[in-house]
Amino acid sequence: MGLKQQLRTTTFLLTLRYMVLFFVSVTILMAVINWAINDYIENRADESLQTALRTFTELYRLGGLPAIEPLVTARKAAENPGEALYLLADQRYRPVLGNLPAWPTLQPTGDGWVAFAYQTADGDTAPARGRVVALPSGGWLLVGREVQALGALEKILERAFVLVLGVTLVLAMLGGLLMSNDVLGRVNAINTASRQIMAGDLSKRMPVNDTRDEFDALSRNLNAMLDQIETLMSSVRHMSDNVAHDLRTPLTRLRNRLETLRARASAGDADDIDACLEDADSLLSTFASLLSIARIESAASGEALQDVDLTAVTRDACELYQALAEEKHIDLSCEAADGAHILGDRNLIFQALTNLLDNAIKYTPAGGRVAAHAAPAADCVLLTVADSGPGIPEGQLTQVLDRFYRVDESRSAPGAGLGLSLVNAIASQHDATLTLEDNNPGLRVSLAFPSPQAA
């Protein structure tokens, strides 16, 4: 089973769909976590700013500028100055002390906080957030922090998020392949079995493990169904066989009594009895044909096949039918190339061929042509009988293989409509392909036997 087939399986598609769902839920989860963490950190940062602001204000009230100077200096030397920004300015916003070079342009955010731009050490501008208090001395104190400082954490979260999604994707892919592999294996086993059954091996059954899972239940149910179908099929097949068989005995008895009766009948009655005898004979021969078809169909194909010289068989059949063709003024030609050999039953092949020739001559009008042809072809051995008769309408080409089917609906021509069914039965017993085509005009029947080398 190929990867392409596996990617198309329902299991794989289900896994894929589940994966998308998982992807979406992980994204939502991560977004919620991100938002909650951000919110928490912001609150914490804001709280610490508030604390710092209160500390500075209190210190300033107690000791004035000198009281807070060492604190600001210490903060200035801190590793990440962006985390704590201080600026003490006079009444006219001129900087007095702090780690900001000048009083920034402030944008109030509405909740008592202000946003401003901050010049980092490497020259970039970064957004910052802070609070301003008016000092009792008339100056201003700005305490703030870089908003970007939180970005580092966000990046870590982002990376974790991508990693989780990546791993999920790979695992889901692998899981999907493994699961579809397992399911596909079991479905394929069922498919293989059903194809064999469709090919005619009705005794074949679905594989059953003792896992008692849903596939097992499916196989068991299918097998139970197949058992019923097999029973039905064989009873249908045996039906005509049995009917023909059972009716043959009384019919033969009837025929023999008519025969006895005819021997002592008057000249007038004799004609009527002859007609009855003819009817009985044609019934008996129909039953014999039906039984022949049933016997051939029930014989295992490929059993006891022998080398058959198809060339000789074709020539013999043509020779047998030459007299009949001449009588009907039909030109019967035989083109049998030397060396056409097949594996089969010589008598059945001859019987199939005589049935085809018989039909061809029966339906071809006087002055017409019938040609039999046997030759080895590319990968088969081809046996063809073509005539210039009325042919068979396109739509009925397959129906004529059915038992008792006749193109002529009035059923006026002699015969029971079993000839081609018999040919069909012989063809399938020999694994040969039977083809009926338009011969423009007429009918062309071909039997493609497998080459003996291939068998």
Partner: protein
């Protein structure tokens, strides 16, 4: 005639036994090889009809065992269609004739008649001329004469006439003709043999007061002098 039928298929057995009894024969029936062999060795029969496939001892073994104990009662072996090499095996085992199912009762009757006649006729030196009434066939010179007048026949027609003349007075079925003259074994459900017969008739019986070749309705043909 006393005939033993060894056949396990009840419907075929009924078909056979019923037909044979109506034809005036005394029939014994066994539905398995063992009973059949017991009857065949303890009783005396004029002919036997043995199915190829039997439960217990199969048909070919029955025939082989009989032949090994010098029992030369004529045997017709029956078999299912589609078993190709059976005919050869059946004849090798010692069967005198072979018939594939399904068969018409008239077919079996004609073959049984031919076997019983051969049995009564016995051996003798191989014939070089066959004579039926005014018809004379020289097998060495491949010539046919009626009332001394030469009749030109094609090889196939000659073979056909030879077979009929060898079985003069007996019914010969179309299947037997196809089998012995054309060497193919099946029941021809067509009138193709009839055309050959009518062509032969036109050469043998044309313009003659007495028709030698007769059609036996529902069975086949018969040549009678």
């Amino acid at each position: 005639m006393r005939i033993l039928v060894i056949e396990d298929d009840a419907s075929v057995a009924e078909f056979l036994c019923g037909g044979l009894r109506e034809a005036g024969h005394v029939v014994d029936h066994a539905d398995n090889g063992k009973d059949g062999l017991f009857l065949a060795t303890t009783e005396s029969y004029d002919a036997m009809i043995v199915d190829r496939m039997l439960p217990g001892v199969d048909g070919l073994s029955v025939v082989r065992t009989l032949r090994a104990s010098d029992n030369d009662t004529p045997v017709i072996i029956l078999s299912a269609l589609g078993q190709v090499d059976d005919r050869v095996k059946g004849l090798q085992a010692g069967g005198d004739d072979y018939l594939t199912k399904p068969f018409a009762f008239s077919e079996l009757a004609a073959r049984l008649e031919a076997l019983l006649r051969r049995q009564r006729g016995g051996g003798g030196a191989p014939e070089t001329t066959l004579t039926v009434g005014p018809l004379e066939m020289d097998l060495l010179r491949r010539e046919v004469r009626r009332d001394g007048e030469m009749i030109e026949l094609q090889p196939r027609d000659f073979q056909l006439l030879e077979y009929l003349m060898r079985h003069a007075g007996q019914v010969v079925t179309r299947t037997m003709l196809l089998e012995k003259v054309w060497d193919y074994h099946f029941d021809p459900q067509t009138n193709v043999i009839d055309v050959h017969i009518s062509r032969l008739r036109s050469k043998i019986d044309k313009g003659q007061a007495q028709a030698l070749i007769q059609t036996v309705r529902g069975a086949g043909y018969k040549i009678d002098g």
